[in-house]
């Protein structure tokens, strides 16, 4: 355990390592989702702007479209978690911000970011 870890409540290092592994796995899985989702997102943009881009046209496509909402909810969740876990790793390596408290804070930031994205998608759906 590092000096910074020792500041946290004493915990089984094996459990800590498992939690860290779960974050790593989550980042890889969200990367796979994002790889696909970004392609769909870019293709949608290209198709959407072909006939000019207007609010009415966008809303016509998105209102009541459950598949569209599901796609962007998954996209936002993946983006939020992926970004937060990445920032967690950068903060740990550059400014030594480590430990369980920091991990929980990053997770909260990731979920919050995702919630903003999902709220925006809901706004276009409802």
């Amino acid at each position: 355990m590092s000096a910074s870890d020792r500041r946290d409540t004493p915990e089984n290092p094996q459990r800590r390592a498992r939690a860290q592994t779960h974050l790593w796995v989550a980042q890889r899985l969200t990367a796979m989702v994002l790889g696909l989702a970004v392609l769909v997102h870019l293709a949608t943009i290209l198709v959407a702007v072909r006939g000019g881009l207007s609010a009415a046209e966008i809303l016509e496509r998105t209102r009541g479209n459950g598949a569209w909402l599901a796609f962007y909810a998954v996209f936002a969740l993946a983006a939020g978690l992926h970004g937060a876990i990445g920032l967690r790793n950068i903060a740990a390596e550059t400014i030594g911000l480590r430990g369980r408290g920091a991990d929980l804070a990053w997770l909260a930031i990731g979920l919050l970011t995702a919630a903003f994205g999902i709220r925006a998608a809901l706004g276009l759906y409802a």
Partner: protein
């Protein structure tokens, strides 16, 4: 290449807060960096501390930082690394405490080897007894080939001193310990695979590796610790995803 008559050698003296001392060493046609260090100690300054044993690339104890890069000094020809004006800069291995001069303290390196469970635990005889029969391990099997690829490590510490992640995170186990763990994970006779995978998981373990591959680039034995670490990550990824751990 024209040979300078004299090498201008800067050598680290003292502990962590030491300084460089300059020595002039006669240049020879055939000369290793270890020859240069030995010349300084025998002819110029007997108080110089450094470490070597075999002089032929078997023991790994003469590793130092030569012109900013970790190398075995006994297998490094001066001509290949010397500057145009005959400059050589010698430091102890990086990422390790300095004992004195060119001798680094390798205790953290070997402690991490232990932490990564880098020792064989026989499956058939956990109490240390001798198994009744020989284990049959087909040399061509995938697991054995993975193990064989990393088995020749002699623990010189060059990869550890070259690793950026070790520099950023003092807890990180480092390439050599993880490479050793991967050889044992692939040893079908070993009985401690689950515990070993636990020991090498997480931020202090394989998951911090950025795969920048300095370890692989600089390993004097041409091993590929980077691939071993990728193997550990892959194994842990699927084990975690499929609930096998």
């Amino acid at each position: 290449m024209a040979e300078p008559a004299c090498l201008k050698v800067s050598v680290w003296r003292g502990g962590a807060d030491g300084h460089f001392a300059r020595y002039e060493v006669p240049a020879r046609e055939n000369q290793t960096v270890l020859d240069v260090v030995t010349h300084i100690q025998r002819e110029l300054d007997p108080s110089l501390a450094y470490r070597f044993a075999c002089r032929v690339g078997m023991c790994g104890s003469c590793a130092m930082t030569v012109n900013g890069r970790a190398r075995w000094t006994c297998r490094t020809h001066v001509r290949k690394v010397v500057g145009a004006g005959g400059e050589l800069e010698l430091r102890p291995l990086a990422n390790l405490p300095v004992i004195r001069d060119l001798a680094a303290d390798l205790s953290p390196f070997f402690d991490k080897w232990q932490r990564a469970k880098g020792h064989f635990e026989p499956k058939d005889a956990p109490d240390g007894a001798v198994p009744e029969d020989f284990a049959v391990v087909p040399p061509g099997s995938k697991a054995r080939q993975e193990a064989d690829a990393g088995i020749e490590c002699i623990g010189c510490g060059v990869c550890y001193a070259s690793c950026d992640v070790v520099a950023w995170n003092g807890d990180y186990l480092g390439p050599a310990a993880l490479n050793r763990a991967w050889t044992l994970v692939n040893d079908v006779r070993d009985g401690a695979c689950a515990q070993r995978l636990d020991a090498v998981a997480g931020d202090a373990g394989c998951h911090s590796c950025h795969s920048t591959q300095s370890c692989t680039e600089r390993c004097p034995k041409n091993l590929d610790p980077s691939a071993a670490i990728a193997g550990l990550k892959r194994r842990l990824f699927w084990d975690t995803l499929l609930g096998r751990r």
